[in-house]
Symmetry: C2
Subunit: 405 residues, 2 copies
């Protein structure tokens, strides 16, 4: 019956996200492929108290239908948080709470994209965003990433050649998958381009507050004067993914449309989860919680960079992120990351990473890989990266004697 | 900037769902307009225990990313429940857990409907389903409701005239908004039609287990031999809406596609909510909980029917449901339900109902209304319906002297 399905289902059939989680490593395997935060750092006891407090405070009514907008009190807190941490001017009415950041991406795609509409993404970019946008069958243009973020000259060439670009998607802070952060200059310039060529910027910021080094930068949204920037954030990385709470900050007109689409998509996010988060934010210090996690992640990042420095051959390149969860490693072009993973790293080394191909809109790059450092401990990093370096050396050597891996 | 939005946003601009919740009644108002269950009947204490048990049992890991399919153990329970209560043969792999029943409707629309695809809905039908399908811009055909469900002669005429109907949406048990239940004969016949004309049936059953009178009927899905029926259920009415947990039972191929679309839409439903529901189902007797609610709802239904019998003029008709939450009332054609609501019932009577128009795909009926009896107590029913009858009598009288309301 597969011919009865909508066109979007055929488009999505490669299942970009599912690919990321494949591969059986066995119990002792080391997963550099995940995008998980470290569960040991979750404030589980406090969230448990918050859930109980919310039930005690609101009683059975908290399990009734609420409103799609969600708790006004919580939305006010989020607006204050956006002002404090990202220099964004917003009120409760500029905020929509979503089912994790992923739903924000889906709803923005739903809001903006008719089939064939033009959208610019980073190359590489977050696979979950591609998977969300794929559902609306857009036409992708991709623009290379430099060490200080999106290459704006390349972007402007695309904009000059295609007058009706509707949306640009970017992860400016500790980018997934590369770990790169967009410079202050580029943030300002990007908003100018959005004004000049009249497109929306979707600024996706799940890692924004997880900075281990260097100076915090204002959000792209903070330079927005005319509503071109849709700012998306999430509690999945700074608190816990299981809350399934993300949010969008944007102009009221956009929020009103997104709210309508959310109503049609799932009615509302669970009231008890919103009430529990609100209780948590009232009784705990989110800043302090975030600060308390930074040393663990900083240490893992530093250890991974150290081991990479000490083990990788000179023709392998990798980024040096200042925060987030990921390092991006580029192999010599002769080595195919996916083949390396399937034929050597999973079966022999018992390690996994995400082959870079899935992060490209056109799946046209074979020699990159994403390494996660947040979900693995220091011992695993030392063992796993050492094995990876050895296998990469062998793969390069094998290509030199004629066998293409 | 509204010209930049996708076509689907313009389509959805009337905001079918939001209309339902409008109107300010003040504190003493009586809302027959809601679709809420009675929060006094929620097993709040047990769910609180279940949430705590789940956190104690699984620790921080329950707040990590899980899988989009959700708890296998819970899906197995749901399959058993479907077998026991609806005579459906299903295994865990035939089940997808969704963010309430609404997300199931959205994902099925996403799976099946390209713009212009043909879909049959009941006239009237559930407004949230229209709102979900609207997003994919289908072409609606509506078929009248008889006292024993969908008019199958009219349906077959539509099927004969339009060979490519893709989907039929029905609420066979205590239909929203009419309260009508589809007969056993019609259930069997509908599956035969789906086989003959090759379309999917979306069987939406949120009220199925809330029967106050008469004999329970097997689900339409129980007669399905070739995967034509997509069965959707929800815990919103039998347990509590705040869990935001619904589910689909269908063939594995369909479930696999829906799972991909769910991943792209919101990654997954909250693991802690699924674990809590699983704990609840392990430690409590859901059947007994449902049975314990029936007398309250049955009494409210009986009282509302009694007051309607005693107060309504003879040219007003209403259904006599055996379960669910709603009675459907049909006014003489000269009276417009929406005008009556806005000009008299809300400002003067301080009562609300949902004007029937929003439940029609083509919004072409003006004289129906949906009355909810589950969320109002007996005293409110007596006072509110008496006021409604009085205002209807006045409206009819007014039209007889020439003023059209």
């Amino acid at each position: 019956m597969s011919d009865v399905f909508a066109d979007r289902v055929v488009i999505g059939s490669e299942d970009r996200l599912a690919e990321m989680f494949g591969g059986s490593l066995g119990k002792d395997g080391i997963k550099f492929s995940a995008g998980n935060p470290n569960a040991d750092l979750f404030p589980t006891a406090q969230i448990k108290v918050a859930l109980n407090d919310a039930i005690d405070k609101y009683g059975s009514q908290i399990f009734e239908y609420q409103t799609v907008s969600g708790f006004t009190q919580l939305r006010s807190r989020l607006a204050q948080w956006a002002a404090k941490t990202a220099k964004i001017k917003a009120a409760a009415n500029n905020i929509l709470i979503t089912q994790g950041g992923q739903q924000a991406l889906d709803l923005i795609g739903k809001l903006l994209l008719d089939a064939g509409d033009k959208i610019v993404v980073e190359a590489p970019t977050y696979v979950g965003a591609l998977s969300a946008f794929d559902q609306y069958d857009p036409c992708y243009y991709d623009v290379a990433m430099d060490d200080d973020g999106l290459n704006l000259e390349e972007l402007e060439t695309v904009l000059q050649n295609h007058s009706d670009i509707k949306l640009l998607y970017t992860v400016p802070d500790f980018h997934n998958p590369t770990g790169v952060t967009m410079s202050l200059t580029k943030r300002k310039k990007l908003v100018e381009l959005a004004e000049k060529y009249d497109f929306f910027i979707l600024e996706d910021t799940p890692y924004r507050d997880l900075r281990y080094k260097g100076e915090k930068l204002p959000a792209i949204k903070s330079f927005d004067k005319h509503g071109h920037v849709l700012f998306v954030s999430s509690f999945s990385k700074i608190l816990m993914p299981g809350l399934r709470i993300g949010w969008v900050a944007a102009d009221e007109e956009v929020i009103a449309h997104l709210r309508t689409l959310k109503t049609s998509s799932d009615l509302e996010t669970s009231g008890i989860m919103l009430a529990a988060l609100n209780q948590y934010l009232e009784n705990s210090d989110l800043d302090r919680h975030i600060s308390s996690m930074l040393p663990t992640y900083r240490k893992r990042l530093d250890v991974m960079l150290d081991v990479l420095d000490n083990t990788m051959p000179t023709d392998v390149h990798y980024t040096r992120p200042e925060g987030g969860f990921f390092i991006w490693l580029t192999l010599p072009k002769v080595v195919n990351a996916q083949t390396l993973l399937r034929e050597i790293c999973i079966p022999k080394d018992k390690i996994s990473f995400v082959p870079g191909k899935v992060f490209y809109a056109h799946r046209d790059h074979e020699n990159g890989m994403r390494l996660n450092f947040s979900g693995v401990n220091e011992a695993q990093i030392k063992v796993g990266i050492t094995r990876l370096a050895m296998s990469i050396r062998e793969a390069i050597a094998a290509t030199e004697v004629g066998a293409v891996l």
